[in-house]
């Protein structure tokens, strides 16, 4: 038996009270921690932070005043990490496609099977957890790279791209010796042992960090 999951949180946002409660009941039956909101407004009033262990949002695509799609847009604007699962009614396929384009994890057409629902929740929580880790490692990488001086950062980028000391010196119009000293500092400050390792670090901090400038 797997150890009890830490505490990922599922937020269900639907104006239809009885259905919303039935989902909470279902989620709790499967051991999830679930919270309910009767409107997008009440969710936005105090947006919860995504726990490290993950979590997801279950949104009804049609709601009065602020619809599910609108809430998705607002959360995107806030750079929210919450993965979003949409619930759609019959004939809302166009809306669902739009939601997927805007980054929803999945959509479920009502009525849906409980197992499909729970599997989707599972996947979304897993995704959120992965995202959390990725973002943590990105932050760590950025913190390391931030310790470099501007000149060291330039040298580090060229090292990661696989240039030799001579090529770097010519590029930056500095001597090979100076390049060597900077390289020493870079390796020490970032705790990396090779150019490949340095490249991974830079990419983790910024996936486009090694693109042509």
């Amino acid at each position: 038996m797997t150890p009890p999951k830490p505490d990922p949180v599922i937020h269900v946002i639907d104006d239809e009270a009885s259905f919303r409660r039935s989902l909470i009941f279902l989620l709790e039956s499967s051991g999830w921690t679930a919270c309910e909101h009767d409107s997008a407004e009440s969710f936005l009033a105090s947006p919860p932070t995504l726990p490290a262990t993950g979590g997801c949002l279950v949104l009804d695509i049609r709601m009065p005043r602020i619809s599910g799609l609108e809430l998705q847009r607002r959360l995107a604007a806030l750079d929210s990490p919450w993965p979003i699962i949409f619930m759609t009614g019959h004939g809302d396929v166009d809306l669902a496609v739009q939601a997927m384009k805007d980054g929803a994890v999945d959509f479920l057409q009502k009525p849906f099977k409980d197992q499909a629902f729970l599997d989707t929740i599972e996947r979304a929580v897993e995704l959120s957890r992965t995202r959390q880790q990725a973002s943590r490692r990105c932050n760590e990488a950025r913190a390391l790279l931030d310790r470099l001086s501007p000149r060291e950062a330039e040298v580090a980028r060229r090292l990661a791209l696989g240039l030799s000391n001579k090529e770097i010196g010519r590029d930056l119009s500095i001597s090979d010796n100076t390049v060597h000293v900077h390289r020493q500092h870079v390796m020490e400050k970032t705790g990396t042992g090779s150019a490949a390792e340095l490249a991974r670090l830079i990419l983790r901090a910024d996936p486009s960090g090694l693109d042509e400038q």
Binding site: D15, G31, P64, H90, P111, D114
Partner: protein, 598 residues
Amino acid sequence: MDVRSFSFARLCALLLACWPTLVCAGELRIGVLAWFGDQTAATQWQRLGAALQARLPDTMVQMAYHDMDGLEKALAAGELDFIITNPGHYVVLESRHRATRIATQKIEPDRDSEHAVGSAVIVPSERSDLQTLDDLRGKRIAATVPDGFSGWLTVWAELKRRDIDPEREEVTPVFAGLPMSRVLDKLESGEVDAGILRVCLLEHLVRQGRLPAGRYRVLSPQEPDAPCLRSTPTYPGWAFAAAVQTPDALARATLVALLLLDGRGDVLRWGVPADYHPVHAMLRDLQVDPYDFLREHRLEAQIRRYWPIGAGLLVLLLLWLFYTLRVEVLVQRRTRELSAALAARDEIEERMQTQREKMEHLSRLSVLGELSGTLAHELNQPLATIGNYARSLTRRMWTGKLSDDAVAQAAHEIAEQAERAAGILEGIRNFARKRASERKDCDAVKLVDEIVTLFRGMLPRAPEIHIEDRLPDEHRRVCVDRLQIQQVLLNLMKNAFDAHCAIGRAGEPIEILLAPAGERTKITVRDHGPGLADADGARLFEPFFTTKPDGMGLGLSICKGIVEAHAGQLAAAPPDDGHGLCLSFTLPCAATPHHDAT
């Protein structure tokens, strides 16, 4: 013809007229009525002839015997100077041929004369049921001939006086013919109940031994002690009359001779002319010859006299009849046409009613159709909820987390959702059901509440619907077809909702106002949509007119029909404040307000 030739003709005629008198100056021709045949008469009357001949030696007395018609013909032909006939016949000849009586046969009442004038009605003595003439009612009575004086007319007159009318068949005369003895034959054969004999004839026959005494009895004898019993009054005796052309001198000479006759026997006893008034009276009473014109008088003479008036009346009557018939025919034709027209109208109305019901049903279905997408969603919601609870319970059971609280909560929710689904289906079913129109009193506000609930139930995220009730008590109850009016309201709400959706404000509230309007109750549905273009406003209620891409355009035209069937009008108007549209209609209030019913 000139004057001279005319005078000549008259002279000739005068000479011809005088000729017989001149030629026959020495003749005295006497015609006698022969009752019993010429032979008998000759036997009876030759003594008179002989007696007169003796008195008038210069004159040749000739006796001629005739029956009634023969006598009259001879008289008319101028073949006779005098006639001797019975009183009835004399009266006839007097009036027809201006015969003038100069003497009347004298009958001595104490003697049984062969010439006594009057009648006896006899019956067989054993007929005790026949005592008086009145007993003859309904019986058969034998007579001689229809114009026989003593043989019929006298008795007829007597019967008529007693209100027994042979002409009304209250007594049946059987005419045996002449001689009078035939009456006795009929009586003997039992063919008749009674018989009529000339007065004294019965006694005469008995005396001659031709009838046994006491064989017959006389009814209603007028003078029981007289030698001759009679049932009728006596009338004047036979008349001796002069023809109209008989010269006065001859008449005078003959009269003198008659009065001077002296001898035994009735034929020789003549006296001054008697008063024949009783005879006239009797004949007039019977309306027989010569008074038979009286019969005509009654009908023919009236007709002759009044025929122009009668004809006029008849024409008027015919015209009236024609007019009446014509009117009757026309009335019947018009009635037929009218009833045919009425029947046709009824049929059309019935067909229209059926069509209207079909259309209403169709429109209800079409409203339902338009709502059905969301309807499925709406039904799925409770079903999905129920499914969720059921599966959750299973899960909890497997993981050992099934608490009593959880079961109670799930069961409660499941039951509630099942009821909700059933409620939605019931509403739809009631609404979509085919039905005939029926009017009932109902509460207007309750009616609106019900359909608003259904409307909200059919739409997910239905907008707010504000109901403003400004009805006083007497306007609350309306007499309507509840479902039809709810259909109208449903259409109007759906239109309002669509109007809001069209401008992307589906959540905008719809307003319903109930207010009194005169004696009726007015319901207004107001939206905050884009309102109407003027051109659309004019065609708003036309069938198949629609501004919606997927609409049928039947909704409002049917609503209009329903409202008009309730004697109201469906009207569209812009609201007093702001944009949008007001659709309003009025309903009839219930006849008697039910203050106590609420």
